[in-house]
């Protein structure tokens, strides 16, 4: 809703948020599959996920797990092989619908330097989206407001500068300003702080979190940094080889992980004194060669140590593929060991 003052907008959002008791999802993915190389590479292999209004979901995993491909497909940069994605109830399609979608969903890229055209001034970088969507209002004022809201003050000082004159943290703020200037409902952040200095990290994360509080924007943050999830996420979804293997509220997943992969990931975070380090053997796997059965079984400590066989589900791990239940409870795990222990109870 451009044209209103910032404070007015914030008030409207807060009223809306308090009125919506049942938050409908901002984005809903159902059985999404994205493939490359004519089906050879299953980058995203049946993923279902819902993100509510004002919710922050961290999509965690290593390189090759498909998390970046997944968010690119939400914004329509990658075509779906199967499944569907709806944003605010409308399906992600092609043509004119896609353009409207790209005002409601914005993406923040990992490399702030590469994402800014070196020949354009900061003003033009932020104004680009406004011009594409023909947003009404006095353009310079909108741009200055967006920059100020992203922490670049006084905004006028930055308008005529060029990307190379700014630091990494400032460039990322410009990108965030450009994204938020369109008042999106959903922000897709691809490793938003990975290439920034450690001391700047907190500021940028705090900025993103502040937009959730003031504008009610939802965020899907793709990262391999579990600390980021702890810092800002309401829910965490762990991906492995194109599939979500565990999802749930952040406190539950990070304090009491159920899936062996999540447990291993947490155990190797440097300050995790409470867990014994489980360094997985082997390389991060290749999405063009997804193992049969549970895709994690070749690296799973339970299988490797023989415990899976001892407890009787080793064959299932090796032979039976499994997914998360789409309408399960809040904390879901795709693991035979967990499924069996639940059924035992």
């Amino acid at each position: 809703m451009p044209g209103l003052g910032a404070a007015q907008r914030a008030c409207m959002w807060m009223v809306l948020m308090s009125e919506s008791v049942v938050s409908e999802s901002v984005v809903s993915l159902t059985n999404v599959q994205v493939q490359f190389g004519g089906g050879r590479v299953r980058a995203v292999d049946t993923v279902s996920l819902k993100v509510g209004r004002g919710e922050v979901v961290a999509l965690v995993g290593e390189s090759g797990c498909g998390k970046t491909t997944l968010i690119r497909s939400i914004i329509g940069l990658e075509p779906l092989a199967h499944g569907s994605i709806t944003v605010e109830g409308k399906p992600v399609g092609r043509g004119r619908g896609l353009r409207a979608l790209r005002q409601r969903v914005q993406m923040i890229f990992q490399d702030p330097s590469g994402a800014l055209n070196p020949r354009h001034s900061i003003y033009e970088a932020v104004a680009e989206g406004l011009r594409i969507h023909k947003v009404k209002g006095h353009e310079p004022t909108l741009v200055a407001e967006a920059l100020a809201a992203a922490g670049l003050r006084p905004a006028e000082r930055y308008l005529r500068r060029f990307p190379h004159e700014l630091s990494g943290g400032q460039r990322q703020r410009v990108l965030i300003a450009a994204a938020m200037a369109l008042q999106p409902a959903l922000l897709l952040a691809d490793e938003p702080v990975a290439s920034l200095d450690a001391s700047i990290r907190g500021e940028i994360l705090a900025l993103m979190r502040s937009f959730v509080d003031t504008h009610g924007v939802s965020i899907i943050a793709v990262t391999h940094d579990l600390g980021l999830a702890w810092n800002i996420a309401d829910r965490v979804a762990v991906m492995y080889l194109g599939r979500i293997v565990e999802v749930g509220p952040t406190e539950e997943v990070l304090r009491a992980p159920k899936h062996p992969y999540t447990q291993a990931l947490l155990s190797v975070v440097p300050e995790m004194e409470s867990m014994e380090q489980q360094i997985l053997v082997g390389e991060t796997p290749d999405p063009s060669r997804v193992p049969a059965g549970c895709r994690f079984h070749p690296r799973c400590p339970l299988v490797a140590s023989g415990e899976a066989d001892r407890r009787g589900f080793g064959d299932r791990c090796r032979g039976v593929d499994l997914e998360l239940e789409p309408e399960g409870g809040s904390h879901q795990v795709a693991c035979h060991a967990v499924a069996l222990s639940l059924s035992d109870d």
Binding site: Q106, F109, G114, H120, E128, I132, A144
Partner: protein
């Protein structure tokens, strides 16, 4: 407009940016001594070409007026560059010939860059089968050997300046086309183009705001570097006798010198001026063009 004021409009910011980058380019050019030298030499030759009617009378070159002139006379106060086998003033020919050489060089370059840009940009923009078809046509022209084509065309078409221009243009555009297409494809892969797409930009917006500004400097740079090649090519064609018989360029002068045994006869004033003229002009444009390329392509500059 001070630094701390909100600008009047987006357009004002864009113009500020353009003015600043032009100023920066000018300063960069000033810093490069060789480029400055090239620029000055080029300017001198251009002025000289324009001023030819003022400096010498064209009618002095017609046969009727030269009956009295001494033949093959070495440089003297009366004839600054001496006279040729027909008694024509070499200096006058040099002046008038410069106009032909520069004109043909410029026109041929414009034709070549024009066709090349159109083909390259179209292929890069559309991709798919359009790209494939255009590239096969480009390959076809790339493969045709220059000299045989030139001779054939000169024989088939009327001999004249525009024939030469056509010949050079038609044989040289493929390399420009390929260069530009590659640049378009490169820019389209960049992360900021992805960002523009995710903002909702269509292909036209991407071309206008991101691709063209990154491709135009390349066009400009390849233009300046194509001019000397065109001049040399015209010289070659004229030297081989395919040029316009009525308008003698520097190459034509060289051809005449050869045909009339000026070289073997030791009459250096008949071929040195045009020869050196070509060398200087080509060198000047190359130096200037190289500096222009460096200024306009930020990657080549040390930040």
């Amino acid at each position: 407009m001070t630094d701390l004021q909100v600008p009047r409009s987006g357009r004002a910011v864009a113009w500020d940016r353009r003015r600043a980058s032009l100023a920066g380019a000018w300063r960069g050019l000033g810093n490069d001594r060789l480029a400055l030298l090239g620029f000055i030499v080029l300017l001198l030759f251009t002025l000289m070409a324009f001023a030819a009617p003022l400096l010498s009378d064209k009618s002095s070159l017609s046969a009727a007026n030269t009956g009295d002139n001494p033949v093959w006379s070495p440089p003297s106060w009366e004839f600054l560059f001496g006279t040729d086998h027909l008694g024509h003033s070499v200096a006058a020919q040099f002046l008038w010939g410069s106009r032909i050489s520069l004109f043909v060089g410029l026109m041929a370059t414009l034709l070549q860059v024009g066709i090349g840009s159109l083909v390259g940009l179209t292929a890069g923009f559309f991709g798919g089968w359009v790209d494939a078809v255009l590239m096969r046509i480009t390959d076809w022209f790339l493969v045709i050997p220059f000299l045989p084509l030139a001779i054939v065309l000169a024989a088939v078409l009327q001999r004249g300046l525009w024939t030469i221009i056509l010949v050079i243009g038609v044989t040289s555009w493929p390399s420009t086309a390929r260069l530009l297409r590659a640049q378009v494809l490169t820019v389209r892969q960049r992360l900021y183009v992805d960002r523009a797409r995710s903002l909702g930009a269509g292909r036209i917006h991407v071309m206008r705001r991101h691709v063209l500004p990154n491709v135009t400097p390349l066009i400009l740079a390849s233009t300046t570097l194509a001019v000397p090649i065109s001049i040399l090519t015209e010289t070659t064609l004229s030297f081989l006798g395919l040029g316009d018989p009525t308008a003698t360029s520097w190459g034509g002068m060289l051809n005449a010198a050869k045909d009339n045994s000026a070289i073997s006869g030791g009459r250096w004033w008949a071929y040195m001026p045009p020869g050196l003229g070509i060398v200087f002009v080509v060198l000047a444009v190359t130096l200037f063009g190289r500096a222009l390329e460096e200024i306009l392509d930020p990657r080549l500059r040390e930040r």
